[in-house]
Symmetry: C2
Subunit: 200 residues, 2 copies
């Protein structure tokens, strides 16, 4: 069986960078935006549409219905959205079966549970996340800390809601991960070094 | 500055074993019961008494007092208990200043924060903790799972209360640790291997 590493991460914690470097270090495939591209190919929908669907609130996609509204939910629009979800599962499984890989986000830890992934969660304290966002943004946009913090919290609230809805687990609860790493005080390159050891 | 590693752990997660093996692997000193022994030496109190004091509910040691009860709290008994706490801090700092070391429990992560320790938290799911307790107990005592679970929860509730009281932080909240490791699916020896890499 291939070695699968999944990475859940708080926005601004550097989880994506960590995942990419870990994949490089291990010689594993790295999947992040490729997931969107592949779903788009399989559904003949645009990448932009797929991204919107898999990143929007899950409750919009599975409305609670009563009585006559049944005909409404089986509408073409909803079918299309649900097709995106089905394909996401197929794409992830195909990736897991093809080679050793590192997959960032997309509830991959849960969807691929039968493949026994090594599940990592990446987090940091708020000042460190704000600093990383500012750095990443290259100073192009002038936002104060309060606004960046609000944005980080919004993104993470959304990730949590999405993850909790589809998995029935609690996003970021350490119980659902093999290891949780804090990027506040330890450089990402150092974390990559020891995690690579965990996976060799 | 010496390298200090602190280990917080859920009861039954194998945190103590992990700490001991990590210290061995790194050639660091390992401190666990030695802390009690040294406090006992410094205070001329028995080890049993010291252990009882540092493991009991902190609220008993720092009662909320009003008005005339002041004379009551400055009683000899209370002074003795508070002396144990002061000495715990001194003992931990002495250890941190003497050599590289791994310290298990005792709020060492918080007490030694100025020494920039690498803070590890060890945890596992309940079935795995029950199995470990049963194994450790060598089958000598016949307890059903329900009773073991109750016992584990009681110990951990107590650890949390103690830690939260003295540190103002939340015991087991990943934000307060550099890395949190789950011993449910990964053998402790493997975790020791990669954590040693993190600390070399």
């Amino acid at each position: 069986m291939n070695k699968i590493v999944t990475i859940g991460r708080e926005f601004g914690s550097g989880g994506r960078e960590l995942g990419r470097k870990l994949a490089e270090k291990l010689g594993f495939e790295y999947y992040d935006n490729e997931i969107v591209t592949q779903i788009a190919e399989r559904t003949a929908l645009s990448e932009q549409y797929v991204r919107e669907v898999i990143e929007r609130s899950p409750h919009e996609l599975f409305p609670i219905t009563v009585g006559h509204s049944f005909t409404y939910i089986s509408s073409y629009a909803l079918d299309k959205k649900q097709a995106v979800f089905r394909e996401k599962e197929n794409v992830l499984k195909k990736m897991a079966e093809t080679s050793n890989c590192v997959i960032v986000g997309r509830c991959a830890d849960y969807i691929l549970k039968d493949y026994k992934p090594f599940k990592i969660f990446v987090y940091a304290n708020m000042p460190s996340k704000i600093a990383r966002c500012r750095e990443r943004n290259n100073g192009a946009v002038e936002l104060n800390d309060k606004k960046i913090k609000k944005y980080i919290k919004e993104i993470d609230r959304h990730r949590a809601s999405y993850y909790n809805f589809f998995t029935g687990q609690e996003w970021g609860d350490k119980l659902y991960y093999d290891v949780c790493v804090n990027t506040t005080s330890t450089p990402i390159n150092d974390i990559v070094e020891y995690l690579a050891k965990a996976l060799q």
